[in-house]
């Protein structure tokens, strides 16, 4: 089992319900393949540093999950097929990154 973190940017023209639907769909996708969700973050509508697909903003979401390595390939394939996705990035977390992610979560929790 490895820890992974994936950040993706959704199309800003989607409605709130559509976004919720998409996020839930991929969460289920992960869980159905035996992944364990550790954290989810919704960064909301953010301005992009440069235009992607002629759009200046996008909905950012973050998943942190624990899974076997063979989950990432199919997940990214689905991302690529899905037109609602503008960008995605999946990174494998090493031990320092896991510690940092936990610290970051606690800090965010305290702020909220």
């Amino acid at each position: 089992m490895n820890n992974y973190e994936t950040v993706f940017i959704l199309n800003p023209v989607l409605s709130d319900t559509q976004i919720k639907e998409t996020v839930e769909k991929y969460e289920e996708f992960l869980v159905s393949r035996g992944a364990k969700m550790i954290a989810k973050e919704d960064w909301g509508l953010k301005k992009l540093a440069y235009p992607i697909q002629n759009k200046k903003s996008g909905f950012y979401h973050l998943f942190e999950f624990q899974a076997e390595g063979d989950v990432v390939g199919p997940l990214e394939l689905e991302f690529r097929r899905d037109e609602r996705f503008m960008r995605y990035l999946t990174v494998k977390l090493d031990k320092h990154a896991i510690a940092w992610a936990e610290k970051r979560r606690n800090r965010n929790k305290q702020k909220a």
């Binding site: 540093a49 960008r87 320092h96």
Partner: protein, 99 residues
């Protein structure tokens, strides 16, 4: 015998100033250090664009270790973090007047 520097300068015909003893000017610069090593940061987060901004110049280019003092081990991590942040449009690839 001329005592002070001013008198010495006046004594010369042209404005060439010569000192017998070197002037006492502070020349020691602050030693650069690696901020990751110093404060014990082990992971460079690509999600924290504000922090990464301190490692790029106004055009959004990565600054060399020579200027920031980052050690090689962490410079590599900074570089990958900046590249990831750029991919996710948290930081620009090219910019002007970024700061």
């Amino acid at each position: 015998m001329m005592s002070s520097i001013e008198q010495q300068a006046k004594g010369k015909k042209d404005s060439e100033i010569r000192y017998l003893t070197p002037l006492n000017i502070e020349t020691t610069k602050n030693k650069k250090y690696c901020r990751f090593k110093k404060s014990g940061i082990k992971y460079v987060d690509y999600k924290d664009a504000d922090f990464l901004l301190s490692f790029v110049n106004e055009q959004g280019k990565l600054l060399p270790r020579r200027l920031t003092g980052t050690s090689l081990k962490y410079q590599r991590k900074v570089a990958t973090a900046v590249k990831r942040a750029r991919h996710l449009a948290l930081m620009p690839y090219v910019a002007d007047l970024l700061k």
